[in-house]
């Protein structure tokens, strides 16, 4: 792999670059060192699976990557920009324009239709009503939910809810999709559907995806697997195309 990097032409800055990131929860004797120095660079168009035992700091790292949380120390560059120097509002704008999130618990707005859930990020982008409807409907179509636009999360299965969440994450055409255990609440058949969806977006639209998973079967869809252990990157391996 190092050899491959050596022969390729000088690379543009990676999409995200973590340098010696640490995160300590609490203080004094109760201090919990969740991340103990993470170095990680991820380029555009990658599909990365993050694996590791429970408590190894995967979610903590994802929150930092997603600009939802700030590291205790270390540098985080997003497209070359130092995220640590951004204030709360600028980080919100970074999320708005560059990031999409998919959570284990779906995190859709209750009692709000699938279409409106998908429209939500577009509203914050100040997009007009008609254009919003069109884009949201297209995103729902892309995840195979045409005809379900007006169902609320309560009227959808877990798999369908997660597909709505994916539609919401990709409707803004983000630079990076962050998914923390997106299949954690789903059965195997539903999980495979979701993984195939993500693979399609990665391959056809060049969407960069970082995904946390516990299941080796799901990690197999990714082209790079990063292993965490005790707040450190334990292994970082690229794997061939799965198809």
């Amino acid at each position: 792999m190092n050899a491959a990097a050596a022969v390729s032409p000088p690379a543009p800055p990676p999409l995200v670059a973590l340098a010696a990131i640490t995160k300590i929860y609490g203080t004094g004797t109760a201090a919990m060192r969740a991340l103990r120095g993470i170095d990680l660079a991820i380029g555009r168009g990658e599909f990365v699976a993050v694996m590791g035992p429970s408590g190894s700091g995967k979610s903590t790292c994802m929150n930092i990557l997603g600009c939802l949380d700030t590291p205790t120390a270390g540098g985080y560059r997003f497209l070359g920009v130092d995220v640590g120097s951004l204030d709360r509002n600028r980080r919100a704008l970074l999320r708005r324009h560059y990031l999409g999130f998919v959570f284990q618990g779906f995190n859709l707005l209750n009692r709000t239709s699938a279409l409106e859930n998908v429209e939500l990020p577009l509203i914050y982008r100040g997009m007009g009503r008609a254009e919003r409807h069109r884009r949201a409907a297209a995103a729902l179509a892309a995840v195979g939910l045409t005809g379900w636009e007006h169902h609320t999360p309560g009227e959808l299965s877990g798999g369908q809810q997660q597909r709505v969440a994916i539609a919401r994450a990709i409707v803004t055409e983000p630079a990076l999709l962050l998914a923390d255990e997106p299949t954690g609440n789903l059965d195997t058949a539903r999980s495979i559907e979701i993984m195939e969806l993500l693979t399609t977006f990665n391959r056809d639209r060049g969407l960069t995806i970082i995904m946390v998973t516990h299941e080796a079967d799901m990690a197999r869809y990714a082209r790079r697997v990063v292993h965490f252990r005790d707040g450190l990157v334990d292994a970082d391996e690229r794997q061939g195309e799965t198809d």
């Binding site: 929150n63 997603g66 939802l68 949380d69 709360r88 509002n89 919100a92 704008l93 970074l94 999320r95 708005r96 324009h97 990031l99 999130f101 959570f103 995190n107 859709l108 707005l109 209750n110 009692r111 939500l120 990020p121 509203i123 914050y124 100040g126 919401r168």
Partner: protein, 401 residues
């Protein structure tokens, strides 16, 4: 963005119709109280003003004592006929002087009886009060001088005692004496809170002094100022004269009061003002309680919707956008309270003015003020919960169950 925020707020309110309604009840009551207060107050004032206009703008009322406040009067020596004559003689601006003395008595005719104000007057009364006799006649000089048992009754008395019967030449008993009805006054046709101008029986002053009061005291002197003469000048002349006659010197304060239109209005609207103040207090308290109610429910709402806020923040909502969302919700809620309060107040004022027989004065200005005020309550009391929502940490909010 704002229309979206507005739509969102409306939907949130529709989701909890009952809760929203209970939340805004305080605002509803507060706004309704303010508007009812102002509307009824304005109606009462309009009526009093109209009554006073019917008295004529050149009327001065002179009474003994100094009014301390509504219903409170300090004791003071009464006036007598010499005072009346002196006023007519020494003050050139005075066109007519009408002495009177009154007492509440029961008037009886057949089976009907009616508690009324019996007032001893002379014919000057009709002049200064600009009041005509509708049927029959005024008093004759001989009747006045001899203190005859005759009376002129107000329209209310004619109606209550005689009904459809002709009152003229009938005998009515007033207190302990019996008098013949010689005239019926023109109806003034208005009433303020508890005081009906047409509810009176006029008898010659001398008759009153002999048969009712048992003394020669005069309680009230009404003066009409001659056309083209200054009322203020007449008023100060009268005050000077009466101070002299009553031997009030230097810094001693008057033991009588000369009231012009302004002061008569103030006297007649005294009860209205008490009512207005009371309702004002109710309104203030209701708005405060209503505001706290809104704050409370918005805080509950922020807690309930913490996860939603987390999702919005994760998606990229700015702090001020979340703040705006909750603030708009609070303002929409309180404005609804304002609108309902206005509607409630309109029907209540209509009913009240009909009940109190005062004109209904529609005042769009106060409606606008009440509406804006209720919206302001939403802003003030919605701000703290909204800021709390906006300042949530995205991860904590997302983790919230």
């Amino acid at each position: 963005m704002l229309t979206n925020t507005l739509r969102l707020a409306l939907r949130e309110i529709r989701r909890n119709v009952l809760r929203s309604f209970l939340t805004i009840l305080g605002i509803v009551i507060g706004v309704a109280a303010v508007i009812v207060m102002v509307t009824v107050g304005a109606g009462a004032t309009a009526q009093v003003t109209e009554q006073i206009a019917s008295l004529g703008s050149n009327l001065l009322m002179i009474r003994t004592g100094q009014r301390m406040g509504p219903g409170q009067t300090t004791a003071a020596p009464p006036f007598d006929m010499d005072d009346v004559e002196a006023l007519g003689r020494d003050i050139p601006a005075v066109a007519a002087v009408a002495p009177s003395a009154s007492q509440r008595l029961v008037a009886v005719y057949g089976n009907a009886n009616w508690a009324t104000m019996v007032t001893g007057v002379d014919n000057q009364f009709f002049i200064v009060r600009n009041w005509a006799v509708a049927s029959g006649r005024r008093f004759l000089e001989t009747e006045l001088r001899a203190g005859k048992a005759v009376c002129v009754v107000g329209a209310t008395i004619a109606r209550e005692l005689f009904g459809p019967q002709e009152p003229l030449d009938q005998l009515i008993r007033v207190g302990t004496f019996t008098c013949t009805v010689i005239g019926v006054l023109e109806a003034k046709g208005q009433s303020t809170f508890g005081s009906d101008q047409d509810d009176l029986v006029l008898v010659p002053l001398r008759t009153f002094q002999r048969r009712v009061a048992g003394n020669r005291d005069i309680g009230l002197i009404q003066v009409s100022v001659a056309e083209g003469r200054s009322t203020d000048k007449a008023k100060s002349d009268i005050e000077y004269l009466l101070r002299e006659r009553r031997r009030i010197t230097g810094s001693e304060s008057d033991n009588f009061q000369v009231m012009d239109m302004k002061e008569i209005t103030k006297m007649l609207t005294g009860t209205t003002r008490i009512l207005t103040t009371l309702l004002g207090a109710v309104a203030a308290v209701s708005l405060l309680v209503g505001g706290i109610g809104i704050m409370n429910i918005m805080l509950v709402s922020v807690t309930e919707r913490t996860r939603e806020i987390g999702i919005r923040l994760a998606i990229g909502a700015l702090e001020r956008e979340v703040l705006l969302q909750f603030l708009v919700e609070a303002v929409v809620l309180s404005s609804f309270g304002g609108v309902i309060g206005i509607l409630l107040a309109l029907s209540a004022s209509l009913g009240l003015s009909r009940l109190l027989q005062i004109p209904f004065v529609f005042n769009p200005g106060i409606m606008a003020v009440a509406f804006l005020f209720s919206a302001a309550v939403g802003i003030v009391f919605g701000f703290f919960p909204a800021r709390k929502a906006a300042r949530l940490d995205p991860i904590d909010a997302l983790r919230h169950e």
